[in-house]
Amino acid sequence: MSEGPFDPAAPLRPTGNLRRRRVVSQVAEYGATAAAVLAVGVLAIVIYTVLARGAGAISFDFLVKGEPDGIGPMLVGTAEIVAIGTLIAAPIGVLIAIYLTEFGGGRLSGFVRLTLDLINGLPSIIIGLFVFGLLVNHHKQSAVAAAVALAIIMLPIVARGTQEVLALVPESMREASDALGVSRWRSVLTVILPSATGGILTATILAVARAAGETAPLILVDSVFDGKEVSLNPFEVVPNIPVKIFRLSEEANPEAITQAWGAGLVLLSFIMIAGLGARALLARSKARMAG
């Protein structure tokens, strides 16, 4: 009995180095839990601060009126810029994802994926400089320039997100449509994309949420506005929220700071709602694919 590594008849208490291994494992578990709590905590503190300081600025007038009482024109302008950016980025992003999952193979796909990840990591001020040099220098600032900058930021998010949901479409669907003598593009249009709609919408909404708050490129390409009234011409400067927040925060007057928090609260609410909506859509589409 005593020759083995342990006595099988002994009570089931830790033996050997199990005591030490248990301590290490406990420490690791607490560390991981603490990190997770920290992430939630940071978000909670940010939301609380913005709410506490910005709620006072929110009123109907604040949402609809122009300078100096409200941010109405900026809201409309941001919506316009982001909408144009989405119109540019979403179709291209979805096509890139289709290339990656349906047509491309091997090395070139890997290269495209790497490129997308690199674009995703580009500092937005660099994208702003690039668009400034491309569309603004010698011309003038415009909503289109801003939309192009945002589209570059959105593109990898849409493409990578869509690629991930397209990869979830079972391979047997592609085999089924291949075996029926239908070309891959028709299958993509009528079988693969429809079953991935939820995921594609999710990726797009996430990209919109990210783009809506981008400030650095807008300061370069779409910032010289007075914000007194709504302006919609995409070839002119269009007022927008991020630049407005940036400007308000630079003023010495405490009322402006409150307005900055208020505008921040509006932007944050929009992004949170969009993000949660995206999650709900993704969950629904995954459940549908699994069923």
Partner: protein, 305 residues
């Protein structure tokens, strides 16, 4: 390597496939000439009219690995040909090579020739989408689209431009797959709500809706219970005569029940590696009654391994 001469095509009985032949629907004309067209045009067809496939010394490689070596056989028209044999001996690889479904497998390479009505389906100008349009396939696991029953069957005809008389076409296909009576009242409901056996018959209906020339069935009943299996077998009998059917099956009773000809695949050492190959090919009674090769006899009598 197996020589063509060693495996003669089985001699087919001359009796009609069934006592009451099923009504033949009007066939959609498919582009390209058949052996009969070639005869009419005064050209000598390279195949006897009754062969659909003539496979000559086919080897298949996945990368450096040889999965199938030296397979030669003829598959006759309007008959059921079964491919049997143990797992991993290349039956699925072989049947998927008949309509180029393996093309998407990385590293796939095929040597030898696969002639379909005399045309090499691996020739450089051949469009594999067209190959599959004529040679349909049903897979082991039912894979209906997440669409309605009607849309599953109507999907391929719509995409191939066969929009005229779509309702009748769908009904014909579902009747052909012996599914019509079970689903005629719920054509608009999701295909994913059907049972496994119904889903598989739906997949067969989907395949025959575009009236292919050949139907390849890769273990169509292996994921089904015995009752659903019986209905699939019954279905195959009724489809015989309208389509040339090639079926891979692990179930030897199934092969004995449905097939006119049976090909037994097994493993043989090629360059020191066990490789799938065709051991024996004859009409079904011979394979199950008096096989020439002792390996076939051991397998069909359950003494394999």
């Amino acid at each position: 390597m197996t020589e063509m001469s060693e495996i003669a095509p089985p001699s087919w009985p001359t009796r009609p496939p069934s006592a009451t032949p099923p009504p033949v629907p009007t066939r959609v004309r498919i582009q390209g000439d058949t052996a009969a067209d070639a005869l009419a045009a005064g050209r000598r067809p390279s195949l006897p009219v009754e062969s659909v496939f003539e496979v000559g010394d086919v080897s298949v490689f996945y990368g450096a690995k040889r999965a199938l070596a030296g397979v030669s056989l003829r598959i006759p028209r309007s008959r059921i040909t079964a491919l049997i044999g143990p797992s991993g001996c290349g039956k699925s690889t072989f049947i998927r090579s008949l309509n180029r479904m393996n093309d998407s497998v990385p590293g796939f390479r095929l040597e030898g020739s696969v002639l379909y009505h005399g045309h090499d389906i691996y020739a450089s100008k051949v469009d594999r989408v067209e190959v599959r349009r004529r040679i349909g396939m049903v897979f082991q696991k039912p894979n209906p689209f997440p669409k309605s029953i009607y849309d599953n069957v109507a999907w391929a005809p719509r995409n191939l431009g066969l929009r005229q008389g779509l309702d009748e076409r769908v009904e014909q296909a579902l009747r052909g797959a012996a599914l019509w009576d079970e689903v005629k009242d719920r054509l608009k409901s999701s295909a994913l709500g059907l049972s496994g056996g119904q889903q598989q018959r739906l997949c067969i209906a989907r395949a025959i809706a575009i009236e292919p020339d050949v139907l390849l069935l890769d273990e169509p009943a292996s994921a089904l219970d015995p009752i659903a299996t019986a209905s699939i077998e019954e279905l195959m009998h009724s489809l015989k005569g309208r389509f040339t059917i090639v079926i891979v099956t692990h179930n030897m009773q199934q092969a004995a029940r449905v097939a006119d000809g049976t090909a037994f695949f097994g493993l043989e050492a090629v360059d020191g590696e066990p490789t799938g190959t065709l051991i024996e090919y004859a009409d079904t009674e011979t394979i199950f009654g008096a096989p020439a090769d002792p390996r076939t006899r051991d397998y069909v009598t359950g003494r394999f391994g």
